[in-house]
């Protein structure tokens, strides 16, 4: 009982050789859509294997990520509320905007666990929309890179020129609103040096911010935004600016302030002298000081580990569920037509 029905339809290869017609389509496996192909099918075995495999890969990654996150020691201190005088928002804003008031604020931090160097110092701002379109667009990369283009302030609205018309360098809202709180740390009487070199991307320093480009006319306008810049230091060394110019994706963000290259022991008390200049009070933004070690995965964040564990677990569950179901109700071939 040979499968003769196929002969009515197939028999592709044995068409007689071409005799006369140039019209005859050329035979190739490609044109006849007969290229060798793998046709993966989700058979029960494959389904169970794939889900198990995902589980097997994901769970260890999740565990590793959680461990990494747990290893990280992090001190977060919110200082915007304690370092201000005044009760209402207006009072706070008036205080912070008054150039004559003292902004110095002293806080103490206790090290919860041993922290091995390097310990990264971050400032964290909340409710600050660095990702606002008006803000993100307000910069000019050419100007920062090239000393010849100092006058190129296109795109920097509304912080292009000083009232007398001279171009601002670095122009734009981002630079203008540069964060200007400063921190100095000490343990007991001993100062903790904060290394502020190397907190930015190397490529930024080398290629994006020129080493012969110096700030000019910066913060000379009627409205003073944030920090001023030392006009004798080239932009490539103004790392606070370089860091700040990398706009954050979310309204809550941290930016590196410096590194403490010294181990801290548990229960040590750190005194921080904060110069609380930066106005987040207008928009009720929080300011936090963060000291954190890092792991291979970066800072403290359990989300990655939990996500991996969840998905890995889900896959194990699915693998089991499918296995059970296949056992209980084995598939048999049946056309539904």
């Amino acid at each position: 009982m040979n499968n003769s029905a196929a002969s009515t339809s197939s028999g592709s290869g044995d068409v007689p050789a071409p005799r006369r017609n140039s019209n005859r389509p050329k035979y190739s496996r490609f044109t006849q859509q007969e290229l060798p192909a793998c046709k993966p099918i989700l058979t029960p075995r494959w389904v169970i294997t794939v889900f198990t495999l995902i589980g097997v890969i994901f769970v260890p990654i999740g565990v590793a990520a959680l461990m990494a996150s747990n290893k990280v020691v992090e001190i977060v201190y919110r200082y915007d509320a304690v370092c201000i005088h005044g009760n209402t928002k207006d009072e706070k804003v008036a205080y912070i905007q008054n150039a004559n008031t003292s902004k110095t604020c002293i806080i103490t931090l206790t090290v919860p666990k041993d922290m091995d160097q390097p310990i990264y110092v971050y400032y964290q701002l909340d409710n600050f929309y660095q990702n606002h379109r008006r803000y993100v667009k307000s910069r000019n990369d050419a100007q920062l890179k090239d000393s010849d283009k100092a006058n190129d302030t296109s795109g920097c609205d509304p912080e292009k020129t000083t009232p007398d018309g001279s171009p601002i360098l670095p122009c734009g809202l981002i630079a203008w609103s540069l964060f200007n709180d400063t921190y100095s740390f000490s343990i007991g009487n001993q100062n903790l040096t904060v290394n502020k070199v190397g907190i930015s991307w190397k490529s930024d320093r080398d290629h994006k911010f020129g080493d012969n480009v110096f700030p000019r006319n910066f913060q000379n306008g009627t409205l003073k935004g944030g920090a001023s810049l030392n006009e004798s230091i080239p932009l490539s060394q103004q790392e606070d600016l370089i860091v700040w110019m990398r706009t954050a994706a979310l309204p809550t963000f941290r930016k590196p302030y410096g590194k403490i290259e010294q181990n801290l022991r548990v229960n040590e008390t750190i005194t921080v002298i904060i110069q609380n200049y930066y106005n987040t009070y207008s928009f009720s933004g929080k300011k936090k000081l963060v000291l954190s070690t890092s792991s291979w995965l970066g800072g403290k964040n359990d989300f990655t580990g939990i996500a991996y564990l969840t998905i890995g677990g889900l896959c194990f569950f699915l693998a089991t569920a499918f296995a059970v179901v296949y056992l209980v109700k084995p598939r048999y071939v049946l056309l539904q037509i």
């Binding site: 990520a65 930024d204 970066g298």
Partner: protein, 1207 residues
């Protein structure tokens, strides 16, 4: 039947009429003959210079069929492009991107649009260029034109003007519509082939006016002048009215004097003619209608989905802008870092409403990624590639004609997978249009021992039924069926002589003379040899003759007559010469028969006659015609053989043969001359009733006939037609046959194709011929309504699920049922019948029936045909398929697909249609999925930026997303995806129903994909944000900025959508692997390259992969988990569906995968037989019905035996 069967009438109206008279219209009759508005054209023959200025300046002979020219191309093509609503949107967006409203740089908006539109326009330009080259080739053809002073010289076609005298030589095309002046034949006739006009391959005879016969050499045109007054240019190929003013006499012109452009001079050395209509005025150009542009259902639905997406776009834009306005008004005044006091109207807290409104525009552009810009162009590319696969399919290549299948319009590929009803022409489509003389009945004796195909098939059935028992139904059934198919295809009776399959020693080799009725047999052969309008053509190879006949059965008669020893060898104006040879020993005698009159065939008369005078001076009327007509006209003494002949006719009819009855009458001289005088008078009548007059007079003569016998010719089925119909029926397709043929022939063919079978209940709708009744219309309609209602009731009351009904209706009845108040009743009845056969249908009715089915059922219709009479139906149907066979090009030119054999339809639909449907459906779903997944991430990010319109992605990423990074994998999906291989498609025709039921593109599925997109966007966004929160993302303590977050998210998207497409695909060749994984690799390569470019270009993405992301484990970890999280639900869904709700292709794939088809042949067979649609037509249904019948009989027998035992 008024206006019926155009093709027939047309053929016959052109025939060579031998009566030697040509009406010349005297001056006095002139006013009545012309002067109407349609006679406004004046042509000054041989004075083309007069046509250089008004009012005689007619269009030149230059033709152009291009859509554009150099100047109009840009505006017109752009207009075409921007008729698509999505393109308009992107154009607006690109224009707005030049203003500060835009969230993107102008280049990122303009570049993709320019690319997409440019590609489509390039395609248009290329196609138009090809048309232009084609036109130029035609325009540059050369022809001999009179230059004055009797000199002729070559001139290009495009330079010919109205009034030019041209000389066309043998086998050349006529450059314009010409009035024939003279030819190389003395009597001014010439033969033309009109294949390009009506698709008919037979030659037609044209003749000149007698007065111009003298103009038969170049010199004669030195001083020739004449004036033609005639109708305005019009598309009617078969009419022409006008007159010819020559030497102060006026002669009426007829269509027979006109040589139409694009027909070809044959068998004539040269002709002279004068140009009447040139270029676009010529009838063939007037006829060139642009075929209606068709769009597939999927594409129409796609438009609706785009509207849905637009709604979504507007919705989220409105949400965004409201959010933005609120935030701008309430919060932004506090955001000093934005300098809210020094702002433009875009961000003005004091005018928040205005800012909000402007932001709406921004948002509409920003979220534009929801609308897949490259969808149209990708689909176009995919369809063109699919079409090349269809064109290149070697299994749809016909060795005999050298034609391959051709997708003439590629935008209907996927529609091929959704066809519900096939409306098929018969002649040339189901049958070869080649007639074989098979049997005859002479003087009540039937001759011819060979059986017809139908008989062979029937006897085969009988045999198999006799051996068939009900054990092992599936197995035996398979074998039997296959056996039968093999038998049929492997056993072609190859006739040694084309058109002649007759075999009977009683008549052959002159043996007929020994028969007792030799006289009648002689008469029979003479009728065959004389009663026709064919032209003999000497065949140089064999020394014999081939015949150019009006219809293939006529040619078959002449071939038969020749084989019997009555060779028709010459025809002159007035005589027919026949070389007769009574027996093999005798010599040839050439006899001349004077043809006195020829009474033409038409579909109304259903007969033709010639009146001849033989050498001895006796006058005969020889007549052949439909049996019913002839029998009505028999004389009392002419009915000797009536009952036997009638019996034979029935037998022949059952055997699927086409029958004609032959009869004669002897006339005496006076009777004839009286009649002839009247006939001449009728013929010279001028006016609309001439035809009626001629008919009436003819009718008077064709009476009191003496029956001689009947002929039976076989209308051969095309190769593989029954098998193909069987498979198509199993695939769930309904097949309607629309034929111009008569009802009996159509039924015969229906049996031969298994569209009909014994035991099927035939419902014949017919009208009573009641010409007298005043409200004949009303009466006819009432009776029809009754018939329809009764039939519907019968069907509804039928309990037996296997009972099948066939509906048979003729053209006349159709005119009634196609009227508005009836057509729905008719349609309801028709769709309940297993097969529908419409006979005697005019081309117009074919189109109307097609429209009725298309609009009434709302399903996809496919019309297939080969001749000019099928053009209307081909254009009307959702898909028109032309058979590129023997009959010219008209149908093919109008069609969307052309194939050379009906049997290729199976592969075209069941394989290519199925694939293309699934490919396009999957592709579009995926397109929407990926754009929703991507577009919504932008929206979610907005919520975190105060709805300011900032995108988290670099402009360049967005630019590349649609155009480069995700376009090629989806194109490979659209071009190469196969759920099952072509062999499986053919073995499981029922898979085709997935397309008919539109399982892969219903709203459920589309919305499912949209939700998948929504889920994906949520997963991508929140997982990425969660992992790249404010903490350091690297061991070096760096925190993530917008570029890092955007790039990570974008990488995840690229991975997700590409893994998703890999999950969709069932079929991976190296091409898919290359493009899918290549796209992912391209992304990384781009990122490296982009990172290396100057930071003024790349901004914060400078060195991002190599420096920032590459070394960060979280970047890779995030990509992995996002990709997994996004695809696990789909994977689960797919696994679940396959396990618990498997679709047919899943099961088949698994059988193949486990190699069950090899290991477990029984199971494979069982599945295969289950995969057939329960069908009521086709071979299989026939066999099924027979098996049931046998079983019932067995049961009954068992019952009766048991009863008898009990007793």
């Amino acid at each position: 039947m008024p206006g019926g069967r155009r093709r027939d009438r047309l053929r016959w109206s052109k025939i060579y009429t031998f009566a030697r008279f040509w009406p010349t219209v005297g001056d006095d009759e002139q006013p009545s003959f012309h002067g109407g508005p349609s006679y406004s054209r004046t042509v000054h023959c041989n004075q083309p210079q007069l046509h250089r200025k008004k009012p005689f300046k007619y269009s030149s002979n230059y033709i152009t069929t291009t859509k554009y020219n150099v100047i109009t191309f840009l505006p017109k093509a752009l207009f075409e492009q921007f008729r698509r609503v999505a393109n308009i949107y992107f154009l607006l967006a690109a224009a707005l991107s030049l203003t500060p409203v835009s969230p993107f740089t102008p280049v990122s908006m303009i570049a993709p649009l320019a690319f997409v539109v440019g590609l489509s326009m390039a395609k248009e330009a290329l196609e138009d260029w090809r048309r232009f080259m084609q036109d130029m080739k035609v325009n540059m053809r050369k022809v001999n034109v009179h230059k004055g002073e009797g000199q002729f010289d070559h001139k290009q076609w495009q330079n010919i003007r109205v009034g030019d005298v041209v000389k066309v030589e043998k086998d050349q095309f006529f450059p314009a519509d010409l009035l024939l002046l003279s030819s190389s034949y003395e009597d001014g006739i010439c033969y033309v082939e009109t294949m390009n006009l009506d698709g008919e391959t037979n030659l037609k005879v044209k003749r000149s006016l007698e007065v111009t016969l003298a103009l038969d050499d170049d010199e004669a045109f030195r001083d020739f002048t004449a004036t033609i007054r005639c109708e305005d240019p019009n598309p009617n190929l078969y009419t022409f009215v006008g007159n010819f003013d020559y030497e102060r006499q006026i002669f009426a012109l007829e269509p027979n004097h006109i040589l139409l452009r694009d027909s070809k001079l044959r068998n004539t050395n040269y002709v002279y003619g004068v140009v009447i209509f040139a270029g676009h005025d010529s009838k063939v150009m007037q006829n060139a209608t642009k075929s209606p542009s068709k769009r597939s259902r999927i594409e129409k639905k796609m438009d609706r989905i785009i509207y849905v997406l637009f709604t979504l776009l507007v919705l989220i834009s409105v949400i965004s802008s409201i959010g933005f306005a609120i935030i701008t008004k309430n919060k932004m005044p506090n955001w000093w870092y934005l300098q809210p006091d020094q702002t433009t109207s875009l961000y003005d807290p004091d005018r928040a409403a205005l800012s909000g409104f402007l932001h709406l525009v921004t948002a509409l552009i920003l979220y534009g990624y929801l609308i897949p810009i490259s969808l149209y162009v990708s689909i176009e590319v995919v369809k063109v590639l699919q079409a090349t696969f269809i064109n290149g399919d070697i299994l749809m290549y016909d060795e005999d004609t050298g034609n391959h299948a051709q997708a003439r319009t590629s935008n209907l590929n996927e529609e091929l997978g959704q066809v519900d009803t096939i409306l098929s022409d018969k002649t040339g489509t189901l049958t070869c249009n080649q007639m074989d003389f098979l049997k005859c009945s002479i003087a009540g004796v039937s001759y011819g021992v060979r059986s017809s195909e139908v008989e062979i098939a029937a006897s085969k059935h009988m045999e198999s039924e006799a051996t068939g028992d009900d054990a092992g139904v599936y197995g035996s059934y398979e074998v039997e069926l296959d056996h039968e198919i093999d038998f049929k295809s492997d056993n072609p009776r190859k006739p040694t002589i084309k058109g002649f399959s007759f075999e009977d020693d009683r008549l052959m080799h002159g043996n007929w003379a020994k028969e007792p009725t030799a006289d009648t047999i002689l008469l029979f052969f003479r009728i065959l040899a004389l009663c026709h309008s064919a032209i003999p053509e000497p065949d140089e190879k064999t020394g014999g003759f081939t015949y150019e006949a009006e219809s293939p059965d006529e040619a078959a008669f002449l071939v038969a007559a020749r084989e019997f020893g009555f060779e028709f060898c010459k025809r002159t104006q007035s005589s027919v010469f026949i070389r007769e040879k009574y027996s093999s020993s005798e010599d040839l005698i050439e006899r001349e028969f004077k043809i006195l009159n020829l009474l033409e065939f038409n579909s109304k008369r259903k007969r033709m006659s010639v009146i001849v005078r033989d050498a001895s001076g006796k006058i005969f009327l020889l007549c052949k015609g439909a049996d019913s007509i002839i029998f009505d006209r028999l004389a009392k003494n002419g009915r000797m053989y009536e009952s036997e002949t009638n019996k034979h006719l029935t037998e022949y009819g059952e055997a699927g043969l086409r029958t004609l009855a032959l009869a004669y009458r002897v006339l005496d001289e006076s009777e004839y001359s009286d009649w002839n005088a009247e006939f001449l008078k009728a013929k010279t009548t001028i006016g609309p009733d001439r035809e009626a007059q001629v008919e009436r007079i003819s009718d008077l003569m064709e009476r009191d006939l003496i029956l001689v016998g009947a002929t039976a010719v076989e209308d051969k089925l095309q190769k593989g037609v029954p098998q193909c119909i069987d498979k198509l029926a199993q695939a769930g397709l309904k097949i309607w046959v629309l034929t111009g043929d008569k009802i009996e022939t159509a039924i015969n063919i229906g049996f031969a194709c298994s569209l009909l079978r014994q035991g099927m209940k035939q419902i014949c709708l017919s009208t009573i011929n009641n010409v007298v009744a005043q409200d004949a219309n009303k009466a006819a309609k009432e009776s029809l309504l009754m018939q329809i209602t009764n039939a519907s009731q019968m069907i509804n009351l039928e309990k037996d699920p296997y009972e099948a009904f066939a509906l048979i209706i003729d053209g006349k009845t159709l005119t009634y049922v196609l009227e508005d108040d009836m057509k729905n009743h008719f349609l309801n009845l028709a769709v309940n019948c297993a097969s529908v056969i419409c006979c005697r249908v005019s081309p117009k009715q074919k189109a109307l029936v097609t429209r009725l089915v298309k609009e009434g059922t709302g399903k996809v219709t496919l019309a297939i045909g080969d001749g000019a009479n099928d053009v209307g139906m081909i254009q009307e149907a959702d898909i028109g398929v032309g058979i590129s066979g023997v009959e010219g090009m008209q149908a093919v030119m109008a069609s969307d697909f052309s194939i050379s054999q009906f049997r290729f339809l199976e592969r075209l639909l069941v394989v290519h249609g199925h694939w293309c449907y699934k490919r396009i459906a999957l592709m579009i779903c995926y397109f929407f999925y990926k754009n929703i997944a991507f577009g919504l991430t932008i929206f979610f990010f907005e919520a975190y930026t105060g709805f300011s319109g900032q995108s988290v992605y670099d402009d360049w990423y967005m630019l590349l997303f649609n155009v480069v990074l995700t376009s090629l994998p989806v194109i490979t999906l659209g071009v190469f995806e196969q759920d099952v291989s072509s062999e499986v498609c053919l073995q499981f025709p029922a898979l085709y129903q997935q397309g008919q039921r539109n399982l892969f593109f219903d709203w459920y599925r589309i919305i499912g994909w949209m939700f998948n997109g929504l889920y994906t966007s949520i997963a991508i966004y929140f997982l990425s944000i969660g992992m790249l929160y404010h903490q350091a993302f690297r061991s070096g303590g760096q925190t993530a900025d917008m570029a890092v977050v955007g790039t990570t998210m974008f990488t995840s998207i690229i991975w997700t959508v590409n893994v998703q497409i890999a999950l969709i695909m069932n079929h991976f060749t190296w091409i898919q692997h290359l493009f899918v994984w290549g796209s992912v690799a391209t992304w990384y390569l781009f990122l490296v390259a982009y990172g290396m470019s100057s930071p003024t270009i790349s901004g914060n993405a400078y060195q991002i992969l190599l420096e920032a992301l590459g070394p960060a484990p979280i970047f890779w970890i995030a990509t992995i988990i996002v990709t997994a999280a996004c695809n696990i639900p789909y994977l689960t869904h797919k696994a679940f569906q396959r396990a618990f709700n498997p679709q047919d292709q899943h099961v088949i794939q698994e059988i193949k995968y486990y190699k069950k088809d090899i290991e477990d042949a029984h199971m494979w067979k069982r599945e295969k037989s289950k995969a057939r649609q329960k069908t009521k037509i086709g071979f299989t249904a026939r066999v099924d019905a027979k098996i049931r019948q046998l079983r019932e009989r067995l049961n009954k027998r068992a019952l009766s035996t048991s009863q008898s035992l009990e007793e």
